[in-house]
């Protein structure tokens, strides 16, 4: 840590090319850390090749504004300028795609795909979590001094907090939604299990909200009444989690042909990790 800080140029006229290089290297690190569990998940290979191309395209299209928003709230260059955030998002996508191509080839998965459509599907699907990792790494893998500086400068807003929750939920949902286990779990859970899961998810999320309140960096001023915080952060956050889980499951074709009650039980089962991801994201990012 010490040597890293010493190496960093202290003068304001730092070489922008070198800075970009460092950021790019960090972005690749993040894409690999966030992407590897999914790159090595069998269901992800088949899904990329077999899922509805329209649903995948829509998912990828909606991913972009999410990255732009994430860049604005947690990104590297702490500007509120849309142009910079959009640029960050596209660089993150580039890093995500490159990491997906390199690792899918390295693991011998890409060569197995018979058609170009299958290969493209696989790469696009895997590039999404990688790009999120790339963007987050650039903001999170920095030295602790940089992070403190950034967190001080950050203005937490209600919308920003909700966006962070959405990102956290999406990340965990993305890791679990493709697996066969989630379908099996939803089948095993009775309506009573699901109802308890809702209450546990809400409780977990509120516990994290409480922790954020204590860390003193949130938009919640101390002394705000319980009902206000619970309704505006926990309840809204959990509703967002459920919507994101439902959308992710639909994209992966997991909801096709299911009765309404089964859809609900599947969404709630995925909502449990989603809620933890959402709550943790607010605390960590």
């Amino acid at each position: 840590m010490m040597s890293q800080t010493a190496e960093r140029p202290e003068t304001p006229a730092a070489d922008p090319d070198r800075e970009f290089g460092v950021a790019l290297a960090r972005a690749f690190g993040g894409a690999i850390i966030f992407g590897l569990p999914l790159l090595m998940t069998m269901e992800m290979w088949t899904l990329g090749a077999t899922m509805s191309p329209m649903r995948l395209a829509l998912f990828a299209l909606l991913w972009l504004p999410l990255l732009v928003g994430l860049s604005a709230v947690a990104g590297f260059e702490r500007t509120l300028r849309l142009k910079h955030d959009a640029l960050d998002a596209f660089v993150a996508i580039f890093v995500g795609i490159t990491a997906a191509v390199v690792f899918l080839s390295l693991l011998g998965v890409l060569q197995e795909a018979a058609t170009a459509r299958e290969r493209v599907g696989m790469i696009v699907l895997q590039a999404l979590p990688g790009s999120m990792g790339a963007l987050l790494a650039v903001s999170q893998l920095g030295t602790s001094e940089e992070r403190e500086e950034e967190q001080e400068k950050r203005q937490d807003t209600w919308g920003g907090e909700l966006l962070l929750m959405a990102v956290g939920a999406l990340f965990l949902a993305f890791n679990i939604a493709p697996t066969e286990e989630i379908t099996l779990l939803a089948l095993k859970m009775t309506p009573t299990h699901s109802a308890v899961a809702i209450l546990v998810s809400l409780g977990l999320m509120h516990a994290f909200v409480y922790a954020v309140e204590f860390s003193g960096q949130a938009a919640i001023p101390p002394g705000t009444p319980f009902a206000s915080v619970f309704l505006r952060y926990t309840v809204v956050g959990y509703a967002i989690v459920l919507v994101i889980c439902a959308y992710t499951l639909w994209t992966f074709g997991r909801l096709d042909g299911l009765a309404a009650a089964e859809v609900l039980s599947l969404v709630i089962a995925l909502g449990l990790p989603g809620a933890v991801g959402a709550a943790a994201a607010r605390l960590l990012l």
Partner: protein, 127 residues
């Protein structure tokens, strides 16, 4: 309390109210589901259509679980009979929750439309 809450946008309260409605609705639906009597898996296989691929004929089907309990590893069997011989094809549906349906296809070397086609579910495993 009022001094602090003046800064809160009404949209935040609206979103909170919508979220609360969504969660309460989910809980109500779950309680309603739990109170419904449970029935064993009741799988019916419906024949949809035939399409001719390059190498085989495909008889498309939809398996529907009319019971309330889920089934897994459901064996689907289709037989083609023309009086003297019978051709059998099988498929497995991995998961079929109560009230839900899944589609699949059975492969036959001859056109199923020229013979008598019967389809049924043979059995399942409790998930």
């Amino acid at each position: 309390m009022t001094a602090k809450e003046e800064h809160i946008s009404p949209w935040e309260w609206l979103a909170g109210a919508l979220g609360a409605v969504l969660i309460v609705a989910a809980l109500v639906l779950l309680v309603f589901e739990e109170r419904r009597p449970s029935t064993p898996p009741d799988v019916i296989v419906r024949f949809d259509s035939v399409s001719s691929a390059r190498n085989v004929f495909v008889a498309h089907f939809t398996a529907e679980n009319d019971g309330s309990s889920p089934a897994s590893e459901i064996e689907i069997e289709g037989t083609l009979a023309d009086g003297k011989d019978t051709i059998t094809a099988r498929a497995t549906v991995p998961y079929l929750p109560g009230g839900s349906h899944r589609s699949g296809g059975l492969f036959f070397p001859v056109d199923p439309r020229t013979r008598t086609l019967r389809m049924r579910a043979l059995g399942y495993e409790a998930p």
